[in-house]
């Protein structure tokens, strides 16, 4: 169970390999990664500035992870989230969950993503041809929390 907030990119293959290294009790390993898209609302995006709240970010992510561990029988989990200036095609963040069976691994990964989207203090500003534009929170993201 680990949380990292960092400016640098990450290697999802290496992270998944580390989660299962030296053990043979994991049956299912799920990963999600979020990537910067090159267009938004029909406009080209030159880059995305990810601002966060140092201190609270780590606490919020660890709290979300602790909830997931309480609800599902997870054997390992990881949240890595970047901040700073990112470009189209780059990785923004990842979550990974390991469990004996696939149901728990999938549910926990989706739960982590839904909570992280609306409860971890990150804000995205896209560089568009018209200047910087803060990404609005989507109602569907808030709605997604209700299913848990």
């Amino acid at each position: 169970m680990a949380v990292r907030v960092q400016r640098e990119d990450f290697d999802i293959g290496a992270e998944l390999a580390a989660l299962r290294a030296g053990r043979d009790d994991i049956g299912a390993l799920v990963s999600f990664s979020g990537l910067v898209r090159g267009t938004a609302k029909g406009q080209p995006i030159a880059g995305m500035e990810l601002e966060h709240y140092p201190g609270m970010t780590e606490k919020a992510l660890a709290g979300i992870e602790a909830q997931a561990v309480e609800r599902w029988s997870l054997q390992a989990s990881l949240i890595v989230h970047r901040y700073g200036l990112l470009h189209p095609g780059e990785q923004i963040m990842m979550v990974a969950t390991a469990a004996p069976h696939r149901g728990d691994a999938f549910a926990a990964a989706e739960f982590l993503m839904d909570y992280l989207k609306s409860r971890a203090p990150f804000w995205k500003k896209e560089a568009t041809p018209d200047g910087g534009r803060w990404v609005d929170a989507r109602d569907t993201d808030e709605d997604a929390l209700r299913r848990w």
Binding site: G34, A60, W123, V135, D136
Partner: protein, 81 residues
């Protein structure tokens, strides 16, 4: 106490952090005090439904008491992931 601003709240108020001495009993009272103080606060806090609050790094409601709080943060709805 320390008051922090993020994203467009930070941009509208014009700084990321300041020290504020206040007798406000709740977050809502602090917001009213700041709005009365200067136009930039009134602009940033015009629509409080678009503002989220953290007290000592925990998400908190607008009517939460400020007693004992060392760090207040104001920011828009979060958009991580």
């Amino acid at each position: 106490m320390d008051v922090l601003y993020f994203a467009w709240v930070r941009e509208r108020i014009g700084l990321p952090k300041e020290r504020i001495d206040t007798d406000a009993a709740t977050v809502a009272e602090l917001v009213e005090e700041l709005k009365a103080r200067e136009e930039r606060y009134a602009v940033a806090f015009a629509d409080m439904s678009a503002i989220r609050v953290a007290l000592d790094q925990e998400l908190s409601p607008l009517d939460a008491p400020l007693k004992g709080v060392r760090e207040v943060a104001f920011f828009p709805p979060m958009t991580g992931g």
